[in-house]
Amino acid sequence: MADDKSDLPPEIIEIILLKLSVKSLLRFKSVSKSWDTMISDPVFVENHIQKSKESNSHNLFLRRSNLSTFIRFSAVKSEDKKFQTLGVLTETPPSNVGGLCCRIHPLEPRKSFGTKIVVVMHLSGFVVIQTPAISRLLFWIGSTTYSVYSCTNKSWITLRKEHDGLGLTITNPSGLCVNGASYWVMCSITTKIMYFDPRDDKFKMLDKPEQIDDRVVFLVNLRGSLCLYCYFEGVEKSTVRIWEKENGIDNSSWKELVTVEYDYVSIFSELEPLCFIENKIVFRKDCDRLVIYKPCEKSFEAFEKDTPVREIAMPPVKYMETLYFPIDKSKSKPNRKRKCLQ
């Protein structure tokens, strides 16, 4: 080994770089052209997301709150049981609420991404932000058709839904995006799970765990996996049971993740799983506060009182810092120039 320097082969350098933070990776694009190419490679970006999911070290929520007339999207990190706001990511102008297009944090248009993410807000429709690796946005239009925006071709395609005749109502219109596929719960007399498979642009149905009859189910993304939960009400104690779907879009085997017992006070008593922090689960309890559940001790722990849960107008969404959407922490001060759009 010569002098001061080491001669690590590219495959080992890649293993090391996958463990770096987004900030360092963006800085090290300046090291050389080959490092820039490696860090910009879509496969590297996806692998980095996988690594970050495994490490579980970033626990960010994308918070949506109704302060002033803007709808504000911001990232919040939970650390030491306190939320720490990392800065405003973007805001929508008031006139855009439920109607027009806005752009959220455009990706760098050069290099291999070659794409921008567009968020479409629509009164009756909804939108799913897909990762640029999949390069599609799914946009609901009527009851029998849907549109998909391809970031690669920069065009919309309209397709006919195949599962439209079931007479079911979608309970989570914004859908849940897990590993590229989007999932919805549909229910009336029966409950079904429908998903959009981005590989062939088709809607399909997913089997539920066998133990659930026609109970209402809810979906959540925990640790990067699709999870399903439902409530079993008791007299004093109720339980929420959570199942986790095994990896792979077509794989419909579920394994039970955890069963949590909680006090049943009124019909509003609810325990809604949000995300994992290390090996603990964060729940939203009775719609107004957050609690941390420790599965190994089967006990709850409250977040600190000053946690501004009431500012969270909508349920927080698990967010992870990725190379797609780096968070510029130097811009976290208020009154910075607002980045918004059209």
Binding site: D4, K5, S6, I12, F28, K29, S30, S34, W35, D328
Partner: protein, 163 residues
Amino acid sequence: MAAETGTPTTLTLKSNDDELFSVAESAAILSVTIRNMVEDGCAGGVIPLDNVDGKTLASVITYMNGISAIPADEEKKKSYRDKFLSDKDFETLADMVLAANYLNMSCLMDAVSAKIAQVMEKKSVGWVRRKFGIENDYTPEEEAAVKEEHKWTFEGVETDDDN
């Protein structure tokens, strides 16, 4: 193989600078490369490890003995790894990551690459170029443009003369 006799089997490993090391088979088979040799019956005499020097091999063996003495307790193993790597400089870590890769020891590979990443978090671009032996192939204008684009990522970074 020799489990029934109760006497631990010892293997002899040879570094590329001809140093010999004795190590218990139970510890050495943390390396999939060595385990395959043992299973294929090629471990009778001395096992030559052509890609690892004596200094690095000594370190790896210390790790093999240390980690295999800890019962199945992931937290204790993790704290042993942290302590084991805490005083290693970049050059040693780079040699170890190569050795871990050659010996196919995933737990050491993971720990050392994570440690290198941790060391790099606050380092400058110049430091990385020197330590990894990477030539800057940007023109000054190109380099300035890339740096300007990600300006915020240079905040809070250790100063470096070459940066």
